[in-house]
């Protein structure tokens, strides 16, 4: 049986959501320009991932499975996530305005972030226990943040580089991402 530490570290490093599972590429490319927006997005995603897991897991095993409705997973999960993101947004706006101010822009985007739906579905597919799922979500979120923060540093350097005209913008960013991804390949096999 896998220990919680292995699940956490493998979700963070070896199976990094962005760089080896390709989930959440859109925010990875879109929000990684500045360090503070990258870390803000990372925190918001981690938070929503954990909360979404905490809500969808009981729904799957408590409501859908007993009624033989597992095929509704996708529909229910995405609705829960959308609803949840809205709730978090409203709650933060009322209760913690400073935090809302720093995360607010990113919250609506998280609904369509595949990493969040991905982590909830993966938890079910892998047959994790409730605690395992939460740890997996935490690791996935931290890994997402790590990738975003590292990549924002790379992009800062990239801005000053002399790139051929055709490669400017997105192509150069993608190739830089490829190199960062190679560095994450160094972690593979660490926990197998």
């Amino acid at each position: 049986m896998k220990t919680l530490g292995v699940i956490l570290l493998s979700a963070m490093l070896t199976d990094n959501f962005v760089l080896s599972k390709f989930m959440g590429i859109c925010p990875f490319l879109g929000v990684s320009k500045k360090l503070d927006s990258a870390s803000g997005m990372g925190i918001a995603v981690t938070f929503v991932m954990i909360c979404a897991t905490a809500v969808t897991y009981p729904i799957h095993y408590g409501i859908l499975v007993p009624n033989g409705l597992e095929y509704l997973d996708t529909v229910v999960f995405i609705l829960v996530i959308a609803l949840f993101v809205q709730l978090v947004e409203i709650a933060l706006k009322k209760m913690l305005p400073p935090l809302y101010k720093s995360l607010g822009v990113y919250l609506p985007l998280i609904t369509t972030n595949c990493a969040v739906l991905g982590v909830t579905v993966l938890n079910i597919d892998n047959g994790y226990s409730f605690l395992d799922s939460l740890v997996n979500a935490l690791g996935g979120g931290l890994g997402f943040m790590l990738a975003l923060v590292i990549f924002s540093g790379v992009r800062k350097k990239l801005e000053y580089a002399d790139i051929p005209e055709t490669f400017k913008g997105v192509p150069a960013t993608l190739i830089a991402a490829s190199i960062v991804s190679v560095s994450f390949m160094g972690f593979s096999g660490l926990f197998s």
Partner: protein, 241 residues
């Protein structure tokens, strides 16, 4: 709201080349990178997405006057997720190998920006027939992009081409085309995640070169009002600050 009067054939063709969702508009990057280790996976994913897009565009366009504006996003999401579930069942029943190899990314079609983007930008403003044509065009454009990505990665990364296509079309004794020289020394890196980023970067650069236009410094922007991505838009922040 003015109905779009463009000829239908244009609605189809624009998605394939001029407004190719992946290579030009840079939407739906996750599946583009994730499933394209084989050309046949690319085709399968592309067609599955096309089906979902067609279904959701038709339904959303037909219901566009009934769905209240305030709840349109949850409504769109439910419609899209239902079609994704449907496609999941169809693939599981008829092409199980493809279902296995697409895995979780099949579920993730739900959050593919292309589908949501087309629903928001096109289907909610145009009639059913135009929306259907738009969906076919965009879907085929996506499939084409995935096929090109998959071909490049498969040929360089495993030295063969179109492995697994037999399962897709139901031919049992299908043999993949072996590429001379590369098949002895495949560059494994290309079917790994890093190769995906690299190939996509190269292909987009090539499209830029061929189209001989200014490279997209920013993701194309049609104003923040109708943009599903307006939340994360850096321009918006810059304007505000």
């Amino acid at each position: 709201m003015a109905e779009n009067k463009t000829p239908l054939i244009k609605e189809i063709s624009k998605g394939i080349i001029k407004e190719n969702p992946t290579l030009v508009m840079l939407l739906g990057m996750c599946p583009t990178l994730a499933v394209t280790t084989q050309a046949s996976n690319g085709i399968g994913m592309g067609l599955a997405t096309t089906f979902v897009l067609l279904g959701s565009n038709i339904v959303i366009s037909a219901l566009r006057k009934i769905i209240p504006d305030k709840v349109r996003i949850p409504a769109f999401i439910v419609i899209i997720a239902s079609f994704v579930t449907l496609v999941g069942f169809l693939l599981e029943g008829f092409v199980p190998p493809l279902y296995e190899s697409l895995g979780i990314y099949l579920t993730l079609i739900t959050v593919n920006c292309i589908i949501f983007g087309r629903a928001e930008m096109f289907a909610s403003k145009n009639n059913v027939i135009a929306s259907a044509c738009d969906a076919i065009g965009m879907g085929l454009g996506f499939t084409l992009a995935l096929f090109i990505m998959g071909s490049v990665r498969e040929i360089i990364g495993s030295g063969q081409w179109l492995a697994g296509l037999g399962q897709l079309v139901g031919i049992d004794d299908w043999k993949p085309i072996s590429i001379p020289f590369v098949s002895d020394n495949p560059m494994l890196l290309f079917i790994m995640p890093a190769g995906g980023f690299f190939t996509l970067g190269m292909i987009i650069a090539m499209v830029n070169k061929l189209a001989n236009r200014k490279p997209p410094q920013e993701i194309e922007c049609g104003g923040c009002d109708n943009c599903p991505m307006s939340g994360k838009c850096d321009k918006k922040e810059e304007k505000a600050s």
